[in-house]
């Protein structure tokens, strides 16, 4: 039986997601966790209700003359409701928002090796932050790194632990600046994570740092 999710989205991130203030890569991590977690879904509903109350009470600005008529005339035209940059939907066993970014299942991921069996795949988001999938073989460590910005790591399969805690499927780790940690995948099954960061990671070993420009990590 699946372990319950223990590590959730923080209030700060959830409010920022509700307010529409997160970089695309962070929003993707939020959307995937929310797809797996009823508690956070319920919490998001409350933050959206705060947004609704803010909009309902904000100063009204009169619409232009003829605005209603213009809108009514538009209603019979084809839907323009979907965002201009929406990704096409794909069928997959993964949570829908992730499947849309991969363009299919995990089998469709185009992995690139980072050495020692660790692999990653950058996902196509805007450049305000970056999102990638990480594949860490069972028992192996993610290269030791520290952060300049915020890094979100969501476990999709397997589990990892660091000096402080254990993270299994659906768990979200939020790392801020000054955390210098070395996550290790648990024995048994490879750990696959969705990770997003708003700053380049700094690896503490020389070689990975030299590789950074090539791998966009």
């Amino acid at each position: 039986m699946q372990m319950p999710i223990r590590h959730h989205i923080s209030d700060q991130l959830l409010m920022a997601y509700s307010a529409g203030q997160l970089p695309e890569a962070f929003s993707l991590v939020m959307a995937v966790h929310l797809s797996m977690c009823d508690e956070c879904k319920a919490r998001l509903g409350a933050f959206d209700a705060v947004g609704g109350a803010v909009m309902d009470r904000c100063d009204v600005v009169a619409m232009d003359t003829g605005s209603l008529a213009a809108t009514l005339a538009k209603l019979d035209m084809p839907v323009k409701g979907t965002p201009s940059q929406a990704l096409p939907h794909v069928q997959s066993s993964l949570p829908a928002p992730l499947a849309d970014y991969i363009g299919g299942d995990l089998s469709a991921v185009k992995w690139r090796s980072l050495g020692a069996g660790v692999r990653q795949a950058i996902l196509p988001t805007d450049n305000t932050a970056s999102a990638r999938l990480l594949y860490i073989p069972a028992g192996k460590a993610v290269p030791d790194h520290s952060h300049r910005g915020t890094e979100l790591t969501l476990v999709l399969q397997g589990a990892f632990h660091d000096e402080i805690d254990r993270f299994g499927p659906g768990d979200l780790e939020i790392s801020d600046e000054d955390i210098n940690h070395q996550p290790i995948a648990e024995a048994g099954e490879a750990c696959i994570c969705l990770a997003a960061t708003d700053a380049p990671l700094r690896f503490n070993a020389l070689v990975p740092r030299l590789l950074q420009p090539f791998f966009r990590i």
Binding site: D11, Q12, L13, L14, M15, A16, S18, A19, Q21, P23, E24, F26, S27, L28, M30, A31, V32, L34, S35, D38, E39, C40, K41, A42, R43, G45, A46, D48, A49, V50, G51, G52, A53, V54, M55, D56, R57, C58, D59, V60, V61, M63, S67, L68, A70, T71, L72, L75, V79, K80, G81, P83, S84, Q85, A86, A96, P97, T125, T128, T150
Partner: protein, 222 residues
Amino acid sequence: MFDFTTPEKIAAQPAPPPYDGREPKNVLRRKGQLVSNKAVPDQTMTEQDDWGAMILRVSANQDKEAFAALFRHFAPRIKGFLMKSGANAGLAEECAQDVMATLWHKAHLFDPTRASAATWVFTIARNRRIDALRKSRRPEPEDLPWGPEPEPDQHDVLELSQETARLAEALADLPKAQRDLISRAYFGELSHSEIAAETGLPLGTIKSRIRLALDRLRHKLS
């Protein structure tokens, strides 16, 4: 840090107040141009019920009269909200029209047992803002495996509407500085790291709104 909604803490909350037997109003009330946006608290809930009922009329009957009433209420608020968010008047006007057109086309997705009309319209406006102003994408969570009921349970609708009204009242009662900070977050003036500061959200009413939503999700799944 404001730590008030950690899931482990939700379960320990007292039960929500019992259903008080009042039936929501489903009448279409004609509204003229609003002169003031300071709703009297005990009217808020009734108004929210009405706006939700009107979205259902749009959904069920493609009711253009209900749509016009919704437009007169929400479009000037959406426009004001988008201008607060940095759009010029022309763009805000265009986007507010788009948001209302989206409301028309997506009315069948509105579930009054899960969101009030104002909450739902806000999410459409926010998404339009991300698309039109920030030229960015916003990944959305997977849809629930069930859609809105064709005949929503009136008790559920009322309960949600009461919780939402209570939350709006609690926000309105906050000291101005806190209220302004929360507004600025939703107008997009604060980055996600700035939102980390204390905003003083009304904890009790938020927890109660969360508990209701969670009960609904779990009830549906069981």
